[in-house]
């Protein structure tokens, strides 16, 4: 995998730093299209049935909310060398449902970092991404573990060089 500009190596990761994301708006038709393929339940597909459900009106599948959270991550400020390669997820919660027309944004925080036991060229970071709607209600929290490439020996720390150049 070629290295990427602006993407962080494991050594660049700062625990506790928060990274922003863009935003995405979800339409009724996108909700139904996803539900037909991945979560075909009446409260994701049919307005009338959804009105009689526990949700009171049509809502997006939680898996679509989680998938949109992934997109916000991939396109967000925290860019990782090697890409967003997941080992697994420790937690997902959906405190509020997403409804047609909602606009979502998110922020990501790195909560832990360790060297990989099995793959010496990688580090493993635990990241928490929290997703909100346009009313600042939390709609999703994902905590996952991701591989991040370690800086190859002898490769210059260009991010630091840039900072020094700006200081001089």
């Amino acid at each position: 995998m070629p290295t990427q500009n602006h993407a962080l190596f494991y050594e660049d990761i700062q625990i506790g730093k928060q990274y922003g994301c863009g935003s995405v708006t979800l339409s009724l038709e996108e909700i139904k299209t996803f539900a037909r393929q991945y979560d075909p339940q009446p409260f994701h597909l049919d307005e009338e049935a959804a009105g009689k459900s526990v949700f009171g009106s049509l809502v997006a599948s939680g898996w679509q909310t989680a998938a949109l959270t992934m997109r916000l991550r991939v396109e967000g400020e925290l860019q990782l060398q090697g890409g967003w390669i997941g080992l697994g997820v420790d937690k997902i919660v959906w405190p509020n449902p997403v409804r047609p027309g909602d606009t979502l944004t998110a922020f990501t925080e790195v909560v832990e970092a360790r060297e990989s036991q099995s793959k010496p060229q990688y580090g493993v970071i635990k990241v928490r991404t929290t997703t909100f709607n346009q009313r600042e209600e939390q709609v999703c929290e994902v905590v996952s573990n991701q591989f991040v490439l370690r800086r190859p020996a002898g490769q210059p720390d260009t991010s630091l060089k840039t900072t020094i150049a700006e200081e001089v």
Copy 2:
């Protein structure tokens, strides 16, 4: 929510019982369509870039594998009264990637059950769904917590009645 035939109330749940699912085959185009919308990374979108990645060839987003696991659940043998309404996820792992043309199936096991503290008409069950490809390699494991409606007081246990009718 009207009650459904063949769907289990909380009281019908058997801890440890395994429930099967159907199967679903994932095409290259479906992998790319999902990735464009939810996980736009080169190893999900571009065969040449994927060949140079850690995966060695194009793979599906893990979030698509998880979403397909949801579909297998929703259409599988374990039907829940009120539908599959998730409180949250305790764990997702992806031991092997999914590649174009792979056919997935899964089974679900109920591992815990408790009455809801906040919603007396519901129980909460913890379920583990394990998803495999056509080579019987595990591609996903999801452990989640789901609401299930409790049997309303005075409603006959028709599942048991059917069993008795068959016995006589």
